[in-house]
Amino acid sequence: MRRATIDALSFHVVMGALAGTTLIVLIGPTLVVLITSFTNSFSLKFPPPGYSVRWYVALIDAWQIQAAALNSLEVALLCTALSVALGTAAALAIARSRSRLARALDALFMSPLVLPSLAFGLAALMFFSLIGVPLSFATLVIGHTVVGVPFVLRTTSASLQQLDPALLESSASLGAGGLYGFRRITLPLIRSGMLAGGFIAFMASFDNVPVSLFLSDARTEMLPIRLWQILENSLDVRAAAVAGVLILVTVVLVIVMERVSGLSRQMR
């Protein structure tokens, strides 16, 4: 009996300690950035020697960072709209089909997730220069959409697979036409899948570096690339304030999306 207790106890202590460490490691770095962003010094020393909001105030005049943020926001919104439209339509066509073609298409549409996106960015750059299309906002949106579609396809397909076909049959037998049935029955049922997928695609696009590196023209600066360059070269403390803003916005958006679409269930 005593050995059994030691056995159970040691198991729970080891698992609990590892899980606790993981939790701290998951939250810790984000907190470190948040605290650092309120430093009053010119370095990223942690803990900061004193606290102030000076670096957040400095963002008000940082027009280059603001312009980059606006570019990223615009591209992310367009990419999300395109990803949701294309991805949802494709999900409706293939999610419930067992045909070989449908499975092959599904594998194709999901493959940007496992492919190194830097290699795709390079390939797309070569492609656009070959067909003579200059880099622009449009090329950025197209590149981001290829990477964003899998997220929408995955969540929307998952909610379609849970949908009871009897619902659609009864709506059809009551005389509801295809589009009407779609709008009144299918759409409300897959709405949260579409929202969650769109949200993940939006966040992925807003944060994308590998594709933007190759597909943005010289004049268009994207926020994550700007941040990356700051961190690589000058360690400008304003970057910490930008990071603080991004963290707060992400937390708020995630909580809202959890309420609206049950985000955490869609991501498992």
Partner: protein
């Protein structure tokens, strides 16, 4: 299938995305493969010279080897620390579960640049780790954690942790709780039950998590380049340098193709392990 179901599920709805992917995904990848087959950067002569050049230089093998090693180290670290968290998830109340899942998902949706930034602050010469070690008198001068392979492994393990934990949570949730009870009733201890029953039955989740984490870790350009610095070269940075800094498109294309094939090979290896493990779990 009824009328309505076939109506809304019309295969035609896949056409826009199929066209989009054919034009903007398959065509570029085909072009990438084609460009890699040119012997010179002026694209005038065909040949396998770029591949020969890559395979003939030990430096390139080291870059590829380091990248794959990095992938395995990060995957092992996330599995070791992620599994207990997924296990804990199924042992707490519903309210706590919601909190835990948000803690796991939040980092996944937070900008990678921001998360990597945190590790620059933590690992730097004046960072938390060095300050703590100095204060404890364990070291005399700051360790060079930033710009080291170990630093990249640590940062990536944290950045990619959610990709491991989420499939594990799903997989452990599908286990029949009676199995653990049955094992205990038959006299097996807690450790034995875990190692012989729970761990093997959760292999599909482990494999899925490993595939995602490995794929993400080897391609994580931002974290690799910021924490590794310019001296530690991994495959994504190598492609970037060759393509944009040196403008050597055929060689960059060949390196991309080799890298994609390597990633694909290991992902398929994990998948094969998964199939074998499913047979094992059912036996």
């Amino acid at each position: 299938m009824s009328q309505a179901a076939t109506d809304f599920g019309a295969w035609r709805l896949a056409l826009p995305l199929a066209g989009f992917f054919a034009l903007f995904f398959l065509a570029p990848l085909g072009l990438l493969a084609a460009v890699s087959l040119f012997a010179d950067s002026e694209l005038s002569r065909l040949g396998l010279d770029q591949y020969a050049k890559f395979l003939g230089d030990p430096f390139n093998w080291r870059v590829l080897g380091d990248t794959i090693l990095l992938g395995f180290q990060v995957t092992a670290a996330t599995l070791l620390f992620g599994y207990p968290l997924a296990w804990l998830f199924h042992r707490v109340s519903r309210r706590l579960q919601t909190g835990l899942i948000l803690i796991v998902i939040l980092p996944l949706l937070t900008s990678v640049v921001v998360r990597t930034f945190a590790w620059i602050v933590i690992l730097g010469r004046q960072g938390i780790v060095n300050s703590a070690l100095l204060a404890l008198g364990l070291i005399d001068s700051p360790l060079a954690l930033l710009y080291s392979h170990l630093g990249v492994v640590l940062a990536l393990a944290q950045v990619q942790m959610p990709l491991m934990v989420l499939p594990l949570i799903t997989s452990l949730g599908k286990l029949d709780p009676n199995l653990a009870d049955a094992s205990a009733a038959l006299g097996a201890g807690t450790w034995r039950t875990f190692l012989r029953v729970i761990l093997p039955l959760s292999l599909p989740g482990i494999v899925a998590g490993c595939m995602l984490t490995f794929g993400a870790a080897v391609t994580a350009f931002i974290t690799q380049s910021l924490i590794g610095g310019a001296r530690l070269v991994y495959m994504p940075l190598y492609i970037y340098q060759q393509a944009l800094t040196l403008q050597n498109w055929p060689f960059a294309a060949a390196v991309s193709i080799i890298f994609m094939l390597a990633v694909l090979l290991f992902v398929m290896l994990f998948e094969r392990l998964g199939q074998l493990s499913r047979g094992y779990a059912h036996a």
